[in-house]
Symmetry: C2
Subunit: 324 residues, 2 copies
Amino acid sequence: MKKITSLSQDKILQVNKLILERIHSKLPLISEIAKYILSAGGKRLRPILALSSAKLLNYNQSSNQDVYLASAVELIHTATLLHDDVVDNSIKRRNKKTANEVWGNQITILVGDFLFSQAFELMVKTNSLKVLQTLSNASSKISEGEINQLQCKNNPETTTEEYLDIITGKTAELFSAACKSGALIASNNTNQIKALEIYGKQLGIAFQLVDDALDYISETPKLGKSVGDDFKDGKVSLPIIISWKRGTKDEKKFWTRVISNLDQNENDFNKAKELINKYDGIVETYAIAKSYSQNAVDALSIFESCEVKDGLIEVADYTISRIN
Amino acid sequence: MKKITSLSQDKILQVNKLILERIHSKLPLISEIAKYILSAGGKRLRPILALSSAKLLNYNQSSNQDVYLASAVELIHTATLLHDDVVDNSIKRRNKKTANEVWGNQITILVGDFLFSQAFELMVKTNSLKVLQTLSNASSKISEGEINQLQCKNNPETTTEEYLDIITGKTAELFSAACKSGALIASNNTNQIKALEIYGKQLGIAFQLVDDALDYISETPKLGKSVGDDFKDGKVSLPIIISWKRGTKDEKKFWTRVISNLDQNENDFNKAKELINKYDGIVETYAIAKSYSQNAVDALSIFESCEVKDGLIEVADYTISRIN
């Protein structure tokens, strides 16, 4: 992501500065926890998307609505991560202990709420009701996606459609809203706004498909979280759905035991990976991710070639390259 | 609260209807949980304050910004209750099992997030950036208040100032923002807006002081939650602060054991009530609540006498009458 990162570098520095200002609270513990998670080295992918979408539509770079917007998007994402890690009982994120692991669930829930409220305060500073509508709607859909995921947990009979619905809600809606909002502050051109909204949605789906596949093939340091976390938690993603659908009666028994009943032995993760490979679970997940990533690139076809457009295409390529 | 309730009855019916529409989700479980908590018979005090503040400043009753605003305020409040009950591990609320007790913590956290996002979507529909600013700022302060409370838990040395800071954040900020926002959609008169903001803040502090005292003197059915919940949880409120400050060395030892160490026997709650009464903990808490309630009434002095003003004065009286 060299191109897109260098194009938005100045603005990203402003985003980081603004976020640090916003998370300052009269209660030092809030600042401490917020700093801990925000400085854990995320790629700032969502704010980069918001900034780049605005830039693609010739947003005046001396204005700073885009910085408010991008910071708000990152804070929504961070609030979501805090609550997710509580809900999933996660121990590791970005190669560091999760906030809930260090400070406990109670305070982590409340700091998540604080960051979410701060995100809304920043959104208000964009002075755009359309941005507020787009991002508050995305927030609702994120929660719906998370709840949907929780309900499908431990159920290997989850369909591909249900799974795509889940990852659209929990991941792609915010990617899409970031791009759309960036477009909204820069332009009134509905076709261009729509194109960036679609780009974000397709990119987000590709991103989450790859993320879920990585849980079965990556190394812990590369992935940031512990490999096999989804498996241990009984979370159902596309590689499992594929293997379940094509599995024999005995293999289905295995999945029921490890995913539905969470009755797992030491060697079960390797067995799961074997079954996933037997039915090309990773290969097919990757192929589907690639097609979503291609949809994202296609959505940009209405724009003239330029550095920012090249950068956005690079993001789509990067998203799927993580699996190789 | 007969007067104020009858004055806003039509609008409150619209608020209830709008909320029911908003909590409808493609996921039936979300609607089920949201309905469960929203239909548990709350007094709709905060939306009534928003509606009445607008009405006092002659808001056009055929418009419906006030209904959007009042519904948003109730949804913020409801989202907060859901997260609070998870954080406090509460079992009962409004004489019913809490959502976390029925459906578990994970889903309750996420439904809280969903309702919070829905609240923001409704706020956007008021088309007022000032309302959005006021309510998003209040939301931040609520989280800060809750975190502050959590940090002071189990610490009987909490000062009166710290305690007032906590209840201002967790309760009075939303009362105040509800009144201020109602005023904002109706008028540009800064003195009147300020007066209603102060009314709400003072009322909210009085309300929470009484609520906290009730935990030591009420009966469970009247209180809705279980009497002694704060005590069992080691939550420090004014009656305890007063008794601690004036207590003997032995009495301080008692408070340290039951509040700091949560090492409680069957008879300790009665012993705590005895010590609170020995030092007039309830009487003084009530007197302070009464003075805040009077401040609230005084803030209304700039308004001509009218039915709505009488209604708002009635709310201030009601707030402290709950203790008798």
